[in-house]
């Protein structure tokens, strides 16, 4: 009865196993690269709305990507989406806590707390916005204004309302998935979403309708 394999046969099996592992690892890396590329823009915008700071938003995305790649890259690709959302929310919450402590220290030391998203004196907030590929400068300007209005209104919402609204409304997460990503109950998600929507409607609806009417004229 054969008890095992040795010599060139075993070496060939080991080599084949190594090659298969290597190929799997490369496939996995390519899949992860593809996944991250598909979520990076939205993740950046989500973080930017939360922080109103380009560098902080990039740091948050970088941190979330690193955590996903280091800890969960070997999970099924289907799990990456919910995991990445949960990690991003966790990193944003950490940023908020750190920022709150930093501001308390600034106030304690007699300085002025940092105002997120505060424009430099004389700086037009629209200048910082991106030039889109739209050929019509008028349309482009209106789109940029709509974006700026929405960003500002979203930024004024409490963090939980803001992120619940974005995850439900933009990312299309279900109430259950949003609750998991945010680490809160489903009832809480519904309440936050409803309040956010009410606040945004009150702030934006008239402005946007007015713009639409101007467009029609």
């Amino acid at each position: 009865m054969p008890t095992g394999q040795s010599g060139p046969g075993l070496a060939r099996i080991e080599h084949t196993g190594y090659t298969a592992c290597r190929r799997t690892a490369l496939d996995n890396s390519a899949a992860l690269d593809h996944f991250l590329a598909s979520v990076e823009r939205r993740a950046y915008r989500l973080a930017l709305i939360a922080t109103s700071n380009h560098e902080d938003a990039l740091d948050i995305v970088q941190d979330a990507m690193l955590r996903l790649a280091r800890r969960y890259a070997d999970r099924d690709a289907e799990e990456w989406g919910p995991l990445f959302q949960r990690i991003t929310q966790s990193v944003i919450r950490d940023w908020y806590r750190r920022n709150a402590v930093r501001n308390r220290f600034r106030q304690w030391l007699g300085g002025k707390p940092a105002q997120d998203g505060e424009a430099e004196p004389g700086e037009d907030p629209l200048e910082a916005r991106v030039a889109s590929a739209d050929p019509e400068p008028g349309v482009q300007l209106q789109q940029q204004q709509a974006m700026a209005q929405l960003d500002a209104a979203l930024h004024r919402l409490p963090l939980r309302q803001q992120q619940v609204f974005l995850l439900r409304q933009w990312e299309g997460l279900s109430v259950r998935d949003t609750a998991q990503a945010m680490g809160c109950g489903e009832g809480s998600v519904k309440t936050h979403f409803s309040r956010a929507l009410k606040a945004l409607r009150a702030e934006l609806q008239d402005y946007w309708q007015m713009n639409e009417q101007q467009e029609i004229r």
Partner: protein
Amino acid sequence: MSKPEHKDPFLQQVHSTLERSAQTLDDATLRELRQARYTALEARQRRPAWLLPMGGLAAAATVAVFSVSLWLAAPQPGVNEQLPLEDLALLEDSESLEFYEDLDFYLWLDDEQQDAG
């Protein structure tokens, strides 16, 4: 993740505005995001596969060392067992606490009175 379909014009506008904002990021930001992605992928590749179970082993070893330390550091029966209760009794009564804080003064006063007597 399924993309939401909105019948509400307001929500439609919010969604399209957010979509547009993500699709019109400037080149510098896109470069930085790409760099962040590469950094994450490299960090993942730098970790050898054999290290994966090592994380679990390290965590188990830490828990074991912590448990043994707690067990060894536990007070022996009969030694100092009353101290925490005494402390609690002290803290319960604010007047007693003040008395204990000024104990040196009362001892000195007592000595003085005895000397005078």
